[in-house]
Symmetry: C2
Subunit: 346 residues, 2 copies
């Protein structure tokens, strides 16, 4: 894959597809970043890097947020920036503790808008129980950025027993796939807001910090073998990456995948497959079959997991592929996303 880009002319240009969370982004990451920054930690390509010390292990993660528009039903860029990094740490099995925030502001941004966003970050950090400890501000001239961009990086503590949750290395045939609620809400909320499309019943982003819910299900002897939040590229992308990296089959059942009616209608009208649409409060967990009941029960007791369901299982046929059993009984291979569905949803 390295060769692909290296062989290209230097005039090869970045496109929006390179930021989509799909194949093209992975090719860019593999060929440009991993090749240059080669080290074991980055090659794992998990949501957080794990830093092992003699005494404690830390998870370390970073994310830049460029969502357009900066205010949307269910949240804003500030809430999103805190949730995104908290969730990347949480799905790595870490307890999120400290956040940094780096602001790039466009000259002419209304101070009132910035204040709302900063208050939203502070409120979300309080809910998540994390502390924003360091920051940076840059201002660029008008039209050199788009209102504001926020980077949050985060540090969390991770115990020995949860070290491998982000990698998928523990996943085995027979494990079940659990999803904590309805899909495609964040992506469709952003799109509808951006395009000024008003549906009779408004769609809200599911943007939320998942760390307390995840902490609940990660009690002793939890049986969880893998976790990842289903952001850019949606549920389909998480499962495609898992099945491909572990060379195992994943079977999912359309009937068990929740989607709100208004979200489903919006996807249908606008031509989006909800399996590929971004979420910001949904995560996939893969669990030993014998522990699935216990995990589900804990999830359902939590506000953000009330609609949790088993949506599929890890199988030994079709290794490397995700197969969807449709609601009318058909089967369809879920392909990894190549290009862009929705730019700037996070």
């Amino acid at each position: 894959m390295l060769i692909t880009y290296m062989e290209m002319e230097n005039s090869y240009k970045i496109t929006l597809n390179h930021g989509s969370g799909g194949k093209m982004m992975h090719e860019l990451i593999d060929s440009v970043f991993l090749n240059s920054f080669s080290n074991g930690k980055m090659i794992q390509q998990t949501d957080s890097a794990i830093i092992k010390n003699a005494s404690t292990h830390h998870a370390f993660t970073t994310d830049s947020f460029v969502v357009d528009p900066i205010f949307f039903p269910g949240g804003d860029i500030g809430k999103l920036a805190v949730c995104g990094t908290v969730n990347d740490l949480a799905v790595s099995g870490a307890i999120p503790e400290y956040l940094s925030c780096g602001f790039i502001l466009e000259e002419g941004l209304e101070l009132g808008e910035l204040l709302i966003i900063v208050h939203s970050m502070a409120a979300t950090a309080r809910v998540a129980g994390v502390t924003i400890v360091t920051g940076d501000t840059k201002v660029v001239p008008k039209e050199k950025c788009d209102k504001l961009f926020i980077n949050t990086s985060g540090i969390g503590r991770v115990s020995d027993e949860n070290l491998e949750l982000g990698t998928g290395n523990l996943v085995e045939v027979g494990d079940v796939v659990i999803l904590n609620g309805g899909i495609a809400e964040h992506g469709m909320a952003i799109l509808c807001e951006r395009e000024g499309i008003n549906f009779h019943s408004g769609i809200e982003s599911d943007c939320a910090p998942l760390n307390h819910l995840i902490h609940e299900i990660l009690s002793n002897d939890h049986g969880i073998t893998f976790m990842r939040d289903a952001t850019r590229g949606g549920v389909a992308t998480v499962l495609c990456e898992l099945s491909k990296s572990r060379k195992l089959g994943v079977e999912i059942w359309e009937n068990e995948i929740s989607i709100r009616e208004n979200v489903a209608s919006a996807c249908e009208i606008l031509g989006f497959d909800p399996l590929y649409v971004a979420n910001e409060g949904k995560f996939i967990s893969v669990v030993k079959a014998g522990k699935a009941g216990q995990v589900l029960e804990k999830m359902k007791a939590h506000e953000l997991g009330r609609e949790a369901k088993i949506i599929g299982k890890v199988v030994d046929n079709n290794p490397g592929l995700v197969v969807l059993e449709t609601s009318i009984g058909g089967k369809r291979v879920i392909e990894p996303l190549a290009g862009e569905q929705l730019p700037r949803i996070c």
Copy 2:
């Protein structure tokens, strides 16, 4: 200071001055960020937050880089992004260990340019001895950013005895002020490159990772009471902040402050006071007078400290003020920078 902004109309807008490293940036930080993210760590406003654990202390820092142009004599945005974060950790007394990198790419960016920058980051990280362990990539449409912005966050280890170096709390009357070389090189290199001004002898940025030099001078019983890198706002801003926060006087001697001839000429022609121009490889250290000889000797033995000099001292008159003794024997109060000298120099 909080009231200043709160009382203003919501239509008050961000200006380039809010990103300059001067008074207006501090007012923005105080009124918007510190007020919202209130916690002891952030209120210190040091280059890195210090995270204290039972076993080890960590320093955590973040910086976004929006420099224009992205390539300049002596470096590029990638080298700068690694040096900036490494140096923020190092001047906090920490040993930089791990870096994250978040890229925001403009649609249409040449892949060849990205590759050069990423290789430059990797090379600089190798020189500094830090590992880039986690990353993120976003792409925004044309004209929604300016080629690329990079955020780097970093983690370092800090020992008990170096915990207070970033705060200035240890500084006392009688301590001397040391600077490790010539000033204003980075800012003037950027400006000349941006404006297409060619001077007979080219000015190069001093952009460099300072952590090895700083590690040398921080050996046992080092006598250093304060360190800060003199980036946005230059040497003047570091000293003004120190004198103000500690309510001590600082006296500096123009004759002892090194500046290359071509840099001095450029400053004169273009009307910049070099004391306020950004550096990316220079730092101020304040040292007990009895230890200054030892610190200077170690600095001069290192490539990046060869031209180190004692440039002033901490005094008990004029508390809160920095006074420059000019080369012709006059005295001039060095005022904190209010607005912007040079936008987008880092």
